[in-house]
Symmetry: D2
Subunit: 361 residues, 4 copies
């Protein structure tokens, strides 16, 4: 359904080509300062880059239409709207069933009544609402800090990078190949000014010329999370984070702390030794979560993002009209690599979960 | 909280050392045949093995106390109870804060009032209720078939796999190297008679002597899922499955289809070409899920299970009484490798989600 | 919170003086014809009358911004927006704490940050969204018919009733004295053309001159409800209807079937004898609901609506600035009798509940 | 469904003739003292009386099976079980469709698979769980006090009221005629020792001899409720209370404050003048709730309880076997007047709602 959360609840609406899309945020406490400007930075981080992402450009100007009065939250539901201006519906047809796209399942599930233009509700465009909700969520938990980094793009793990819970400035070469397979990982600052490494840029260029697309892995680190977030038995912190993360289009995997690598460790190696009464641990293989509950250390997780399904390269697929397998070539405006825009969305989703945890606690 | 699901909802209660533990299943349609015998097979699959798992042995006799009349479900909530007989509470103390265990977070979250005996609500014992709920869920969706296999134990990926979900003796060579990175994976039948490969057995023996523990990776394959399960925007099928899977103690990662590997593919390689009007695809990198909705192909996902946190080997950790980092050695009855018992729990959790999807649809 | 419903869920947002107010409807099946015109009739029934209701006039033009494509629902969330144009915020002040109004509780609950203009989220203006949701709900259950009537205004129970829900000119004498205590009740058709009886009109005029306000009792009858709506134990049909009805501002009571009168009957008198295999009963003291579940007979309930709390007559109340009890006189644009506009809102709320029941079933 | 509440959530299970029935309470904070003895008083108040209620007598011994350790709540879900010992299933048959009973709707809704013995899940027996949940809820909000009184039985409003909630012998004249229409109402203390007035006793005796049954009206008053309980828009305090109250079998009406009478007042009469900065009002026509939110004054509401549907007197009804309208006479063990046992159940339901409000706030 279109709502998520318990005490801090978000409801999303709109479609890729609807006149407006928006998010309603319910449960935000009264008295928090909020203005449209507060949204700009995170919205900008989600915008298409100069290179490697879609040519569809939107202003993404947030209109707060409720829940804020005299610059402060009122305690009422906050709705933020965005206009969809830059739509080119002629690019789309209900007849084309693209491989791995929402086309097939949407047509089946909604008996052909789905709004297929631009992917409808399955469009990455919807995530503008998640980012807006994240901005509000972050204001509820101002002490909690989010950092996300691109670990890899198309399998390239840059050498200026590192392992598991962040950059150790003392060891710029501290890549750990055993940890996440053979992955070298770059921690990147959540700003607009960061650049992807040259080899990734080169790959993006190649793939762009070829009409193909790329995926990537994003790591999110959350600092200053209090002990005690997460509600057993069914609302473990991993449960809630993964639930919302998997709502973001194109995510196919998530792992916390040492993740899949922990399955290869022995218990004596995997266990994180407590160092003090506040629960600080020597290692953080648990990713800041024990028994589904935050333990006060950094929450660390990684998500796997598939390559954009919409490509401008010829593919084979079943043609539902001619009932034959045929070659298909689409020309659309697609992100070559949506993963590049995803870090802020991952952060936003995580902030929404943690704000809910905070209000539950 | 202790409930999960919308139209098919489960509520869990009890603790490791409470006299009874149980599960209430709400939303089960009337008229389905169910008896206590129906639970035996799956409960048996969850039981400790001869080797590698806990010495705590429970009868696990299910008592259906409501919702079934004359051998058929009535439409009312079904509650199934299990006795906890084999408890040894003297093994536990509130003073010991074991590394990576629930001890620290539970003490903090519940101000020291948590029932720490046997891990309380954080015990793997709770999963007996999940398995029982899974048995009921499977009856709602009898056409859907579950298979789970052990991909690896302690980093060993065996050709000669595996027990607990069982080896298919007819296809000893059915490994698929392309799927999960460089992992050789055997699809195995869920029977009781299978054995773990010799090298894994040897590893278990070594680790057991050492008082240490092991983790593993489980793969779950679900066949005959109809097209259309999953509810956008926030209840994608991956969202719902991962939510419940991460409630199971000790899970640290999940990936669908090609999972993390898909992040290294190009779009043209990752996309699954449709072959016919029913949505059958040539490859299944999407794991049977497009845009959060089942596409009719096998749902495939893998979960990473950490080594058991309770080990009998000396560890260092902070002593909250002496306020020093000290050596700690515990003697308890623990699973050396809980992953060996997990396949049926993974299946059960997945069945609960799919039964809910089925009733929503 | 701002959402209601399970499988058919509505989320409301906006405030009396926000630029837009709206409703998001989640769970509406795909393929249902819907246009903005479909909303006009019910929205018109909610509009202020020539007499007896507020002078604030709004266009109430519904803007469907999502969930509808080519005139049909798509299966996605439907959001309908309305502009608030006719606002006069200078009428309001945070300092005035009007008796029985939301002023006091809102100020306390939201620490003074609530948007007090026009009552904010507590305004009757919010109900425009409920009416819109009701229009959509009615399309899901087209066979179910709603009729609502004004039973009384200000204590006057007229034979020659009534406007807004309409008089049945064919049966001016169809009063039923036995049903609702000593109340004469006219079942009336939901048309726009009806007029309030002369004695009620006269009362409205008197009260208007006096700056005072009136309440009333509305009865709602729902025909063709299938057997089986309502979910034990906690979601009885009365539970769900009353939950949503009591969200409407100004409702202070609800009774089903014979309601409070049934407490005075003996069982042999109150019980409704079944007449045929479809469950048709001779009497309908149960109001179409047995054991919380619809029994196929007309669902009948009545709601008590308080007089508008905002009056233009002098009242005494505590002045929070001077800390004294003082006389207070406000000049605002208020409904003299909001009950006159309420029937369509009651119907809409009921339709929302029944659409949810229909989708659950 | 079988769960109610958000942050304090109850799940009910069992049936009239199941071996056990119970309630699971989720969300109770850790560290609250609780023992089985704490349940005795309220459970006793729900028990059959010497006269006027069912002959089925149960021990109602509560077994706390989880969530309590060393006499304190642990933060985990609390489950309380009760045995059903005194069952006489031979009294019941699936073929008898009693007027106004759950028989017809249950058979239709559950396709004949419902457990009809003793009314199954529709039995008043289920309310033992509500009372147990109420005991726990009251411990979360110890400062809030509940008083309930029998306003009338079978239409008799006695000065010399009343049993079960108890007579205040010190104030036999404390009737308030202005409040509930023409009803004389006695506020009464919740003690065990009170007796029903002579005229009501006489009526009960008559009706008992006749094999018939009686209903009644109960008033509940809640003192010391903080300002600010209730969540707009859809979770008004009236919404939440009425939702849970209408889950109790046999309730057909609820009204808050002046209730239906307020519809006959003018605004100037109905409005409650504030007397001080804490929100104390001169009158309490609003029943302690403004705009769906508690205003700090006593919450007051009344519920209408139908006469027991199971009577031992001959009735006419449709015979689904012979397909004719026939005379029906049943001999069972029924409450002549279930209303006499209802006050404590009403209180318990209200406490559950207020505990949830408290934890939400």
């Amino acid at each position: 359904m279109n709502s998520f959360g318990k005490n801090f609840r978000i409801t999303i609406f709109g479609e890729s080509h609807s006149p407006l899309i928006g998010i309603t945020v319910d449960g935000c406490p009264a008295g928090i300062s909020i203005s449209e400007q507060d949204f700009y930075e995170d919205l900008k981080r989600r915008k298409p880059l100069q290179f490697g992402t879609t040519e569809r450009k939107e202003d993404d100007f947030p209109q707060i239409i409720s829940g804020v009065f005299n610059g402060k939250t009122t305690g009422a539901a906050i709705t933020v709207l965005f206009e969809n201006k830059n739509v080119k519906s002629e690019d789309y047809s209900a007849e084309i069933i693209r491989p791995s796209h929402s086309d097939f399942v949407a047509k089946q599930k909604y008996f052909g009544f789905n709004d297929f233009r631009g992917g409808g509700i399955f469009s990455g465009r919807m995530t503008v609402g998640i980012v807006a909700a994240g901005v509000i969520a972050k204001k509820i938990i101002p002490e909690i800090k989010f950092e996300s980094s691109i670990i890899s793009i198309g399998g390239i793990y840059s050498h200026l990078a590192h392992r598991h819970c962040g950059l150790d400035p003392q060891s710029p070469d501290s890549c750990d190949e055993s940890f996440y397979g053979n992955i070298k990982r770059l921690r990147v600052k959540p700003t607009m000014t960061d650049t992807v490494s040259d080899d990734i840029l080169q790959l993006l260029e190649e793939v762009s010329k070829d009409g193909d697309s790329l995926g990537g892995v994003i790591e999110c680190t959350v600092k200053n999370v209090p002990v005690g977030f997460g509600e057993p038995f069914f609302d473990s912190l991993e449960s809630m984070i993964s639930h919302l993360i998997f709502s973001i289009p194109g995510i196919k995997g998530i792992e916390f702390g040492a993740g899949f690598s922990i399955s290869e460790m022995r218990g004596s190696e995997a266990n994180d030794c407590f160092l003090n009464e506040f629960g600080k641990t020597k290692t953080n293989n648990s990713g800041g979560i024990n028994a589904g509950i935050s333990n006060g250390n950094d929450i660390v997780f990684r998500v796997a993002i598939r390559p954009t399904v919409s490509i401008n390269k010829e593919q084979e697929t079943y043609n539902f009209s001619t009932k034959q397998i045929e070659k298909l070539k689409i020309n659309g405006r697609n992100d070559i690599c949506f993963a590049l825009r995803t870090p802020v969305i991952i952060e936003a989703a995580t902030a929404v979960v943690l704000a809910d945890c905070c209000l539950i606690k």
